[in-house]
């Protein structure tokens, strides 16, 4: 974080003051009783500790994120049960949202775990769990779709618009015209 970045910040925010940037306030004397030296002293040991805590926290968070779809799954299950098995607006809406959510979640798996990316944090586990749970959600959606009879899994779905076969012979006739 460079000096003055807060002042000349991108996007035309001319009057913004970044208060979190403590480097800019060096010329202002510290308040009484605050010793900056002690902070600077065990910076290295502290930072290691902090990093550990952070990675722990990240790992924890990652697992949490990974488990989030489970709640969603349960919720969806409940909604689906509510919607019943006949095709109408509710059930179709719910089914399609149940299909869409896992798909969009799966598309953004990388982005979802971006904040917890760390050399020390093992993200494969949470990611796999996340994917598995979302696949579960997807499966649930597909199952619901099938339960609604919207999947072409029966012969009837394929032949119902089958045009009649042409006939080779032509025959006509009847009683003599009176």
């Amino acid at each position: 974080m460079e000096k003055g970045k807060g002042l000349m910040g991108s996007g035309g925010r001319r009057w913004g003051v970044d208060l979190s940037d403590n480097s800019t306030s060096r010329d202002i004397p510290d308040p009484p009783g605050f010793s900056r030296a002690s902070l600077d002293q065990d910076d290295s040991s502290l930072s290691r500790q902090k990093k550990d805590a952070e990675s722990n926290w990240k790992a924890q968070k990652a697992w949490e994120v990974a488990q989030a779809p489970l709640k969603n799954l349960l919720m969806m299950g409940f909604m689906m049960w509510m919607a019943g098995s006949t095709v109408h607006l509710f059930s179709i809406g719910i089914t399609f949202s149940a299909l869409w959510q896992p798909i969009s979640a799966l598309q953004s798996v990388g982005k979802m775990f971006e904040p917890y990316k760390d050399n020390k944090v093992e993200l494969l586990g949470p990611k796999l769990l996340f994917i598995a749970l979302n696949l579960g959600g997807l499966a649930l959606g597909v199952w619901k779709l099938n339960a609604l009879g919207l999947l072409p899994t029966h012969t009837s779905d394929w032949v119902s618009s089958l045009a009649p076969a042409q006939e080779v012979e032509f025959s006509s006739g009847g009683v003599n015209l009176g």
Partner: protein, 982 residues
């Protein structure tokens, strides 16, 4: 919550399924339907103009209609359509207030109230043998204060009271074997005159009070007679001898007969032609027609014959009309090119004309067939005459002062066959002024409609809206519309006239009296048989007009030669006509067309030769290509045989490359002692089937047997062919067959015990529905048979379909002999039926409705779902959801589903359905004495907005939404800005 939703959904489903058909609101009547009332060809006409007030003419017609018409406009005051077997023989007025009709071969006498047509009384007259029937209302003949009506019918003379129709006395002539020809009244005595054989002339004198036989005389005429006896006056008759060269004059005086004879050659030098006595009743006079002349011959009191006048080219003569004491007028008409000369002459003063008029009459009306005259008093106290003319095309004209006052197209009461034609495509370049005017009208109309929708319309507005809807110019345009509602209905009438009716409002677009179906020396009694679409231009022949083929025959017998006419469907002009050397027994439109979209037709004569039309080499090429695939079957109902034939080669005995011989392939001979063919029905050749599969509730698939080469045959027991009740249930049975007409294979056979005809049936897709009488249950029944193709049933592998590896759409042949199964079910049905049809739609996707012409001359639409063999007493939930109705023993008749709503199509004979371009809609035309047309949507109009949809409201909503979006956008921008400044 879930429960609530489910309950709601079930309720919704229930509501949808209960509204099976779309009934009509009162203000929708006449929007899409039209109804026209006709009476048919007039046989008798009586004017009733004595009293001031409503002047009317009473008519009876060949369609067995008794009607009273307004003389001013030709509208129907009242009308009664008697049954098809109730032929009206006599019409007269009694007591000045009753219209008396004699019908059913002189066995039913009815009196109708003259002003309103209410029936006053009806008498059934008994008799033992069939005879000529005569209605005679004598003037001032009373028996016990009752005015008498004398009726001769079924070999009996009846005297009927005109007040209540009570038979006062009757005299049976059945034992005398006399053919009674006339009833003569002389004060208190009644004479009955007639022949035994053709030369024994008898006269019986009866007491008018009690019918007692007073005297009897007979004489043997010197020669046999020809034709009818004609009365000249109350005691004189004329008749021709059987050589048609002599006129016999018979005179009766006090019951004594005397006669004179005179050769026609004494009256006129050139008497070479066949003489006929014209049946016009003239006092002291009769008309004799020889060749094209009419001789008017006066009979003197001594019985001498004096030639009064000779007139050329007479088309029709009227009866004499008594205009004042001792003065009688008589009218006849002459044709000259497009003009008609009408003469009215005084019978006793032959030199002057009472009236001479020339009238220009549309050539398409043909010659005058009958003429009836009536007089009226002009302001200058002289007599004026009006003439009612029945034309060759059965239309009715009233002529007065050289003008046609009104005309009625009553030929449309006897429609023989119907087909349709598309209208021309709309041309581009509509004038701007028209559009502007239209735009304004359009906007005005929609504003009115919007008012109606928002319920702010005043009563005047409501009337205006209704008027706007009814006379929408949109529906009667002469161009093709996007939805295919506008078409031409082309009808062939019994008179040999072809009419094109617009489906929008039913008006006659053009009409043509076909000269091939007019009486000529070669073709004495021509009859029109059928009408076919000859050329239906599609894509590459769009600039040509469609044309129609009319097939006729020179007489009622099968052995008379055939005539063909080709008519341009847009212009109504005859393009070509052919008088063929061969006969016509069958016309087969083939499913092939040539390069100009002319359909190939085979005409099969009684010697089983087939003649190909059009007679072009190209047509032969096309037929040669399909030579081995063209089959033909003949149903010989009298012998109980159905034969199948196939094309063999060019004719051997006839040198004509368009003539082909057939070879017999198969025959089905029904046992004549137990079965008689009473009905056959096949599928319509132009029916479109959407799919071959029928999906069952459990996602199972059944394959329909949708062959077009199937024939439904209904056979009845020989004893049970007659009327219902003639046979006991034990001797009655009905056997139905479904036969493949290529191979002659019987696909299905079923016997209904204790049932009998008449059978009315309709075949569509893979099912047949038929209507018959169940003698055991004393009720009518309807049965449905559905045919399924079992040989395709094992096509159940989904992956085959996913990969497209199935052969369900490859062409099939009847020779594969597919296994079929059938499902059937029977239901009671309350009505007896005149005709059954089924709706047809453009793609065959829409569900079907049966259109049943009931005995009450209405058309009932019945969902095919009611005739579904899968109906059970307790359908499962899944079946219910699919729309299967719980089984009931009888079919419901829901009064809202009468498509004719409150109207009657009197004398209903046939129903025709035509698909519109819009898939949901089917056009229905019902014909009989009346014509009725409507559009129906068996599954409602799911593919279009309804007619009363408010476009203005939609527009308004859109404008409001856009405005709201704009306003909110501005507001949000402003708010954003304020937010930023904060």
């Amino acid at each position: 919550m879930a429960m609530a939703i489910r309950v709601f959904l079930t309720l919704l489903l229930f509501l949808i399924s209960t509204h099976l058909t779309s009934s009509l609101y009162e203000d929708q009547v006449g929007l899409m339907d039209w109804h026209q009332q006709y009476i048919g060809k007039v046989k008798h006409a009586l004017f009733h103009t004595q009293k001031t007030g409503r002047k009317r003419v009473l008519v009876s017609t060949e369609e067995n209609v008794v009607a009273s018409l307004d003389l001013r406009h030709g509208e129907i005051f009242w009308r009664h359509v008697l049954g098809t077997n109730d032929v009206v023989d006599g019409l007269d007025i009694a007591l000045g207030k009753y219209v008396i009709t004699l019908s059913s071969d002189g066995s039913i006498l009815r009196a109708w109230n003259l002003p309103d047509g209410q029936m006053v009384w009806e008498s059934s007259l008994q008799g033992s043998k069939a005879s000529k029937s005569i209605l005679y209302i004598p003037k001032n003949l009373k028996a016990d204060k009752d005015d008498l009506i004398l009726v001769f019918g079924k070999g009996c003379l009846h005297a009927v009271s005109s007040i209540d129709g009570e038979v006062l006395w009757r005299q049976d002539f059945a034992g005398e074997s006399i053919e009674v020809g006339h009833i003569i009244q002389s004060t208190d005595e009644i004479y009955v005159a007639g022949f035994i054989g053709s030369s024994e002339f008898y006269v019986y004198g009866l007491n008018a009070k009690n019918g007692e036989l007073l005297k009897k005389d007979h004489t043997t005429l010197p020669c046999d007679t020809f034709g009818e006896l004609l009365t000249i006056s109350s005691d004189k008759f004329v008749v021709l001898d059987n050589m048609r060269s002599k006129i016999l004059t018979i005179k009766i005086k006090n019951g004594k007969i005397s006669y004179n004879q005179k050769p026609i050659s004494d009256l006129i030098k050139d008497s070479s032609g066949q003489a006929v006595i014209v049946p016009s009743r003239l006092p002291e006079l009769f008309a004799l027609q020889i060749n094209s002349h009419v001789l008017l011959i006066k009979v003197t009191n001594e019985g001498d014959l004096v030639l009064v006048d000779k007139i050329n080219n007479v088309a029709a003569c009227s009866d004499a009309l008594s205009i004042s004491e001792g003065q009688h007028a008589f009218a006849f008409a002459q044709h000259e090119d497009s003009k008609i000369f009408l003469f009215v002459k005084d019978v006793s003063d032959w030199n002057g004309d009472l009236l001479k008029e020339s009238i220009i009459i549309d050539q398409q009306r043909g010659n005058i067939d009958k003429i009836f005259i009536n007089n009226y008093l002009r302001t200058d106290r002289s007599y004026g005459f009006r003439a009612l003319m029945v034309m060759e095309d059965h239309s009715l004209l009233l002529v007065q002062q050289g003008e046609i006052v009104w005309s009625r197209e009553d030929g449309l009461a006897s429609v023989v066959d119907v087909t349709t034609s598309e209208l021309p495509v709309e041309k581009e370049g509509v004038s701007v002024a028209k559009v502007e005017q239209n735009l304004f009208e359009w906007l005005k109309g929609h504003v009115l409609k919007l008012k109606g929708t928002l319920m702010i319309a005043s009563p005047e507005d409501v009337v205006a809206i209704q008027a706007l809807r009814l006379r929408s110019s949109e529906k009667s345009k002469m161009t093709r519309d996007h939805n295919g509602f506008r078409k031409l209905l082309i009808v062939l009438t019994r008179a040999g006239k072809v009419f094109a009716l617009h489906t929008g409002d039913g008006r006659v677009v053009w009409s043509i009296l076909l000269h091939t179906l007019r009486k000529t020396e070669v073709c004495v009694h021509p009859v029109g048989l059928n009408i076919y679409q000859w050329q239906v231009p599609h894509h590459h022949a769009l600039d040509e007009n469609p044309s129609i083929l009319v097939v006729g025959r020179c007489g009622p017998s099968l052995a008379t030669p055939a005539v063909l006419s080709f008519i341009d469907a847009y212009a109504g002009k005859e393009l070509n006509s052919l008088s063929l050397a061969h006969t016509v027994a069958q016309v087969i439109p083939l499913p092939y067309t040539d390069s100009t979209e002319q359909r190939l037709h085979l005409i099969i004569d009684i010697n089983q030769h087939a003649y190909l039309y059009p007679r072009t080499p190209e047509a032969i090429d096309i037929l040669q290509r399909e030579f081995s695939n063209v089959y033909w079957y003949s149903v010989e109902a009298d012998n109980g045989v159905i034969r199948g034939h196939a094309l063999k080669s060019n004719c051997i005995h006839i040198v004509d490359e368009y003539c082909f011989d057939f070879r017999d392939l198969w025959s089905i001979v029904f046992p004549s002692e137990s079965e008689k063919i009473i009905a056959t029905v096949t599928r319509k050749s132009n029916e479109v089937v959407h799919t071959q599969a029928k999906v069952m509730t459990d996602y199972d698939v059944m394959y329909k047997y949708v062959s077009k080469n199937v024939l439904f045959v209904a056979n009845a027991a020989p004893k049970a062919r007659g009327e219902i009740g003639a046979a006991t249930p034990e001797e009655a049975w009905l056997v139905i067959y479904i036969i493949d007409t290529v191979t002659g294979r019987i696909l299905h056979r079923m016997t209904h015990h204790g049932c009998q005809g008449p059978v009315h049936a309709v075949f569509s897709e893979n099912w047949v529905v038929y209507h018959y009488f169940n003698l055991r249950a004393h009720r009518y029944e309807m049965s449905v048979v559905e045919v399924y193709d079992q040989s395709r049933a094992d096509n159940k592998d989904v992956w085959k379909f996913v990969l497209g590896k199935h052969n369900l759409t490859s062409p099939i042949s009847s020779y594969y002999r597919p296994e079929v199964t059938t499902k059937s079910q029977s239901y009671f049905f309350t009505h007896s039926v005149k005709a059954i049809e089924v709706t047809s739609t453009a793609k065959g996707i829409t569900s079907k409705q049966l259109l049943i012409g009931t005995i009450g001359d209405q058309v009932l639409a019945l969902d095919k779902r009611f005739l579904d063999p899968r109906r059970t007493l307790n359908p499962s939930q899944a079946e219910k959801e699919e729309g299967i109705i719980p089984l009931t023993d009888s079919l419901p008749i829901i009064s809202q589903t009468y498509i004719t709503h409150s109207l009657k199509v009197e004398g209903l004979r046939g129903i025709v359905t035509v698909p519109a371009k819009l898939e949901s809609t089917s056009l229905v035309f019902a014909y009989g004495v009346d014509l009725f047309f409507t559009q129906i949507a068996p599954s409602r109009t799911y593919d279009s907005l309804t007619e009363d949809f408010s476009y203005a409201l939609l527009l308004l909503t859109i404008v409001a939404l856009v405005a709201a979006i704009f306003v909110t956008w501005v507001l949000s921008e402003r708010k954003d800005l304020q937010e930023k400044w904060r």
